[in-house]
Amino acid sequence: MTAAPDHAPTLSGPGLKDRLGQAAPLLLVPVLVVLGYLSIGSTSSWLTLTVSGLAMGMMIFIMASGLTLVFGLMDVINFGHGAFISVGAFVGISVVLALSGWAGAPSLALNLGAIALAVIAAMAVTAVLGWAFERVIVRPVYGAHLKQILVTVGGLIVIEQLIHVIWGPDEIFLTRPESLKGAITFAGAALERYRILAVVFGLALFLAMRLVLRRTKIGLIVRAGVQNGEMVEALGYRLRLVFVGVFVAGSALAGLGGVMWGLYQEVVTAGMGEEMMILVFIVVIIGGLGSVEGAFIGALLVGLLQNYVAFLAPKLALVSNIGLLTLILLWRPQGMMPVVKAK
């Protein structure tokens, strides 16, 4: 063995400015929450709006997490992602309606059972749909962004029309299961039970995703693939298979988000996924392409800001997230925590 030359290796750790820069995105959510409190003034209103904003953010994160990984891994812009949100919502709501006996029963176990079955059905259908979508629509246009936009928008339109064919042209209204109706009172604030459930579920899902990405070999492959797919293949991993898996999982998560959003709004429409895609794209862009953590923070910012602004200045609510997008991109043109550098 040849000895290394006599030099002491050192690691030039990031300075204070760099460390603050890295931590800055993590501080945005607490800063926004504090600013919200100072602006709103009333603790109960602030608490209600904060929980509502966090719940909305969690649901947007669930829808966006798959999309950001799909973009990061294979450089695919999938406008058809919204279709999985709509299909997931319709499938899930159909299951809840079919199990109206369980959903309407004054039993938490039966209510959660109905929702669990709805979620499973929605995720299974959207996973299969995602697999077919990748194989038929996305695969022929790898590497061609313009074609990707055109064919995935086409796919979105076709699937929306199929929803009309299967479920009819009208929106479907529903009421949440009994146990998830109403609110609990905490510190004088009315906190909707469903929103609390959405926050807890979304947080658990984020932590589970983070665990998979950080602590498993498949997570390592995905994270490495987002940075340099060619090198991952040169190490012997079939990235195409991993990508299909991520695409399918991302579609299933969009379906899950669709069910949760449908139950949140208590109405589902064929165009709901398309409408949500505006927020989903904002989250993916401000979070930084390919970053699950960035998408999580971005989604919370979007949810909180929308709720705070809607309370403080309702007319500005529609543009608040575009304003957020503009500010973040002026600050960090690649998004908050980019894994893939925008070309």
Partner: protein, 240 residues
């Protein structure tokens, strides 16, 4: 060549409308270090990338241990025992050194004994085992890049300019590690612009020009003939 682990015959590769490789014939003998030399832009990196399957050969055969891999996908080529160190190092900068190495051991967990051997060659990697690879210096990243190729037993190593832009002390570390690999009987195809490293490590040499191999022979023969170097590469190793 009778005992070549890798043989290229008439390999042609296009990138967009450019014909980069125009019929490469090359043999890499088993257990030896073959230096791939030539001016900038003559097709050395393209040759390695074509062997690795990153760019598909338009014509010709690439035989690894007798089997044609010219149209095989990159992961299949890697799994046949080809380790690749690209010119840009290909480090996963958001992953730690440990995670980079874990990923490099594609067929199973990293063997302890092998890891100690790698730490012996590159002590800095032990020091920064849990650090993000993106925070390493250029030389440390290059060490990691080569260490990754060493993480498993390979039939053949394709290494692209491992000493490019490195300080002399790091070049010495790198050359030491490659010499150690050679001593263990590895077959290496090495693109290298540092002639003193090339001379010290190479058993054989192949010189490229205009997308073709224009000369092959013993490294010592090339190293000892300044006129030949001048004719083939436009400069002499003595003056480099």
């Amino acid at each position: 060549m009778s005992d070549a682990i890798l043989s290229l015959r008439g390999v042609k590769t296009d990138i967009a409308q450019y014909h980069i490789l125009q019929g490469v014939d090359l043999d890499v003998p088993r257990g030896q270090v073959t230096m791939l030399l030539g001016r900038n832009g003559v097709g050395k990196t393209t040759t390695l990338r074509t062997i690795m399957g990153h760019w598909r050969a338009r014509a010709g055969t690439i035989r690894l241990d007798g089997d044609d891999i010219a149209q095989a996908p990159t992961p299949a080529i890697a799994r046949r025992g080809v380790g690749y160190v690209p010119e840009n190092m290909g480090i996963f900068s958001d992953l730690t050194v440990e995670e980079n190495m874990t990923l490099a051991a594609a067929s199973g967990p990293l063997e302890r004994e092998r890891l100690e051997w790698i730490f012996g060659a590159f002590p800095a990697l032990r020091t920064f085992w849990r650090s993000e690879a993106g925070n390493l210096s250029g030389g440390q990243k290059q060490m990691l890049s080569i260490a990754r190729a060493m993480a498993e037993e390979r039939k053949l190593y394709l290494i692209d300019e491992p000493t490019k832009g490195l300080a002399p002390a790091i070049v010495s570390t790198m050359a030491g590690a490659l010499r150690d690999l050679k001593r263990r009987g590895a077959s290496i195809l090495l693109v290298e612009q540092n002639f003193s490293v090339a001379r010290a490590l190479g058993d054989r040499a192949a010189v490229m020009d205009d997308g073709r191999i224009v000369w092959t022979g013993e490294m010592a023969e090339l190293a000892g003939d300044a006129a030949l170097q001048e004719r083939l590469m436009g400069l002499s190793m003595e003056t480099a």
